[in-house]
Symmetry: C2
Subunit: 172 residues, 2 copies
């Protein structure tokens, strides 16, 4: 039997608008860790300073049914104003930044610079022994870049996690 779309475990990007008050983030995260839901990525930003409202962009992997449950539970939390599953809208942009530090002398160093050019990554730090690249893109592109850099002497990576907005003029 083939898997139906309902069985498909895939990342869902949730945009969660909350009151910007102490403890809200801890409660949202507590809901995930308490019930064993995973968090692939999490970012927070103020959206309307004057109204004390923040947006949490959270990526979680699960079937549509599980993600629907998560959404329903988030909506029950008092400081949560609105939850939108952007993945299901199929009409959004998503970006993250990775800082990728690579060892590098000689040929591997030159190869790392070549690959960075192909990915449109920017060189933002260079010593005789190391390079740091900045890459902005969708998570899949960032992951490809890291995998290609790994055998060339990856020292460390710092990623921001995903920010996302609906396409077009609406406020989501």
């Amino acid at each position: 039997m083939n898997a139906t779309p309902d069985d498909l475990v895939r990342p869902h990007i949730m945009s969660i608008v909350v009151d910007n008050e102490p403890g809200v983030l801890a409660r949202v995260i507590g809901l995930f860790s308490g019930r064993g839901y995973n968090i692939d990525s999490l970012t927070v930003s103020e959206i309307q300073h004057e109204m004390h409202v923040s947006r949490i962009t959270l990526v979680t992997s699960g079937t549509e049914q599980v993600v629907q449950q998560i959404k329903a539970q988030l909506e029950k939390l008092v400081p949560v104003h609105r939850v939108v599953n952007l993945t299901l809208t199929n009409n959004y942009v998503q970006r993250e930044v990775a800082l990728v530090k690579v060892k590098g002398r000689g040929e591997p160093r030159i190869e790392a610079m070549r690959i960075a050019t192909a990915f449109e990554a920017k060189l933002i730090d260079a010593t005789t022994e190391s390079l740091i690249f900045e890459l902005t893109g969708r998570s899949t592109k960032v992951e490809q870049f890291i995998e290609v850099m790994r055998p060339l002497g990856l020292i460390n990576v710092c990623r921001t996690g995903v920010a996302a907005l609906s396409r077009g003029p609406d406020k989501i």
Copy 2:
């Protein structure tokens, strides 16, 4: 009397290496909300998948004395391996991405595109009524861009928060 450096409230970027296990993020955030410390920005990423270790990059504003207290308390949490205050090292790179959605027809639209070019922001979505720009940079640059866009018809902003690495070849 002039303020001494000890009195200066400013953002500090903390790089916190933790075990990648359920509940760690909730405990770190709980430490901040429980004691009234603020979180300006927070990002999480896996650093070594095979060792189940994650890095939390957290920006908090305070005097050096307060930030020193926060660091000491973080170090007491069991799943925390290492805490580095990158701001005090004075030798790091930091980046975040903002997605900035602006209303725009006619002259304000053209002006928004001009400003985006000056900031090296990328246009990643356009309808007849709206534009979305992607801007990667230091937080101060991102904030300047948002302030310049505000009077042109800012609809919404989604920021990732800060990712940061030490300059040079070490693993921090």
